[in-house]
């Protein structure tokens, strides 16, 4: 069952990801990117990562996808699509080289499996993950409290920066 689901999701995921890159119609590409995000969420579900799946849909499909569509709507000359330019071929060669390198690295490495690594939280399979994620994040002894707090400062700085850049000059 899970294997079948994986292959269906994988095919949808890869084909929509390819379509995002290859389609000339930018709007449809963005919509397919949202489909792609959903595919990733579905993959998470097959891995029993329910919280992660919902967060994926909420953040990527819900927020980032919409932001992308919004940016597209504010773009001029959209109907000309993604224009050709002379760096197309070098870019293709470079990305293929990078792909080959990554594939080579992934195949050539003797990967560490999860059982060999100390876990932050010991968690049984087939159980809801929300509370375990919370423990892994906020545990006093080996949680990720510091980066979490830095992230909140980061968001504040980003908000202030965005307000500064977007607002018009002149008096209030």
């Amino acid at each position: 069952m899970t294997e079948l689901a994986f292959w269906v999701i994988a095919i949808v995921l890869v084909s929509s990801a390819l379509a995002v890159v290859l389609l000339r119609n930018v709007f449809r590409a963005a919509l397919l990117l949202i489909v792609c995000f959903f595919g990733v969420a579905a993959l998470y579900i097959t891995l029993n990562a329910d919280f992660l799946a919902a967060a994926q849909v909420l953040i990527y499909a819900g927020a980032i996808g919409i932001l992308l569509l919004f940016a597209i709507m504010l773009t001029r000359d959209l109907h000309s699509g993604n224009p050709f330019h002379r760096l197309h071929l070098p870019a293709l060669v470079l990305s293929l080289l990078l792909l080959a390198t990554i594939i080579g690295v992934v195949i050539g490495t003797d990967w560490t499996t999860i059982s060999e690594v100390p876990q932050v939280v010991e968690m049984p399979l087939d159980e809801p993950t929300t509370s375990y994620i919370a423990i892994a994040l906020f545990d006093q002894d080996n949680g990720f409290v510091l980066p979490f707090e830095i992230a909140s400062v980061l968001l504040l700085a980003a908000l202030i920066g965005a307000v500064v850049l977007v607002r018009r000059e002149g008096k209030d």
Binding site: R28, L58, A61, G62, G65, I66
Partner: protein, 410 residues
């Protein structure tokens, strides 16, 4: 089990019997899950569609009653058959497709909206226990938030694919408004989640020995207003304002596609009403009468409040809507989270026996809510009440809307 006991929790009992009957056949467990979902979906549709049809009728009659006019009263008794007549009329109308529009996306948009609305019902409990909801997910409320954000995509697809400037403007407003209101809406839910300590919907209802509106008045208020904006309902229906945008993103929709859109909107409305019921009004809980009755009763009560607002309040300007979200609802939602978190800590430490009815918190929270709303609205209006500030017109530029986009007038 007496007949009455069977009826009290009708949905759950039907489903339990069905599963038991299935188990008698020695089927594979995955097949049982599949067939169980099937009956669940059918029960859900039986629940959803009649109510939606009644909603459509009720909206017209109720508003007519409030506006001192008869409303539709020709089809059947009290015009009860009017929605069916409407449906037949729209279904046989011509499907118009804008010549330069994106045909595929134009078709998909209403479907996406329709199903994103329907998907919300999967986690809503209309009966006791885990079988009360079609799928009592562990991350229930998060699922609702995640799926709820999908309707924006649908609206956007509709606006874009119509190749019509009014449709696009409507979609643009929609995205700006929905994205803005999603933030306070989600934050207002956090208060409830903090009290319950779980995201599961059955757990949220199970812990409400008293409706959570009593301890979360501010959260309920913010969620309700946010939901009105998410539904594009008056007074927040700037997105589809007839008078200025010729109904916004579905300007170019007709016939079956329009009907799907229309139905999708009512399904979303029903979904929001059920969510408000579940989160803040105690869900299916209630004395004496069957649980499904209490649930439907509360849903209708919420819907009538929505209608009441539509009939009473006038449409707000788009900049006022945006400012209201960012300058009014968002800070209040944050304050609400802070207060609730503090209270949960106090609760855990000193008040372990108060779960059944914590009246000091109820009193304090209502006082805080009233004072905050009054104070903040004063500040809100003092700071311009959501007027968009228009920058100084630079010398050499023409005045008027979008002046800064034009080239200098030399």
């Amino acid at each position: 089990m007496s007949v009455w006991e069977y009826i009290v929790d009708l949905f759950v009992n039907v489903r339990t019997d069905w599963i038991e009957w299935l188990q008698g056949f020695n089927l594979a467990s995955s097949l049982i899950i599949l067939l169980d979902s099937l009956i669940g979906i059918i029960l859900m549709l039986i629940f959803v569609f009649p109510i939606v049809i009644i909603f459509i009728w009720l909206e017209r009659r109720f508003i007519a009653w409030m506006q001192l006019r008869p409303g539709p009263n020709r089809c059947g008794p009290f015009g009860l058959l009017q929605p069916i007549a409407d449906a037949i009329k729209t279904l046989i109308k011509e499907l118009i497709m804008p010549a330069k529009g994106d045909k595929l996306v134009h078709w998909l948009a209403p479907v996406v909206l329709f199903f994103s609305g329907l998907m919300l019902f999967a986690v809503i409990p209309i009966g006791k226990g885990h079988l009360g909801a079609l799928a009592d997910l562990n991350i229930g409320i998060l699922y609702i938030v995640a799926i709820g954000s999908l309707s924006v995509t649908a609206i956007f697809m509709a606006g874009w694919s119509s190749n019509n400037k009014y449709a696009l403007l409507g979609a643009m407003r929609a995205v700006a408004q929905l994205v803005s209101y999603e933030v306070p809406m989600v934050l207002s839910i956090v208060g409830v989640v903090l009290i319950v300590g779980s995201l599961q919907m059955s757990e949220i209802v199970g812990q409400q020995s008293y409706p959570f509106i009593l301890v979360q008045p501010l959260g309920c208020f913010i969620y309700f207003i946010g939901a009105m904006a998410e539904l594009n309902r008056s007074p927040m229906d700037q997105i589809e304002a007839e008078s200025e945008l010729t109904t916004g993103y579905f300007t170019e929709y007709s016939g079956m596609k329009f009907a799907t859109f229309f139905l999708g909107e009512y399904i979303s409305t029903l979904a929001i009403a059920t969510i408000v019921t579940t989160l803040f009004l105690g869900g299916w809980k209630g004395p004496f009468l069957p649980v499904w009755f209490w649930f439907v009763f509360k849903v209708f009560a919420v819907f009538l409040v929505i209608l009441w607002m539509r009939a009473t309040l006038i449409r707000v300007r788009i900049d006022q809507i945006m400012a209201f979200s960012w300058k009014f609802l968002l800070p209040m939602a944050l304050i609400n989270i802070f207060i609730t978190a503090a209270e949960v800590l106090i609760w855990d430490k000193w008040m372990s026996g108060w779960e059944s009815f914590p009246w000091p918190f109820i009193f304090v929270n209502w006082a805080i809510a009233v004072v905050l709303i009054l104070l903040w609205s004063k500040i809100f209006f003092k700071l311009g009440g959501g007027r968009v500030e228009v920058g100084e017109v630079r010398p050499g530029y023409s005045q008027g809307y979008g002046a800064d986009l034009q080239a200098p007038v030399s």
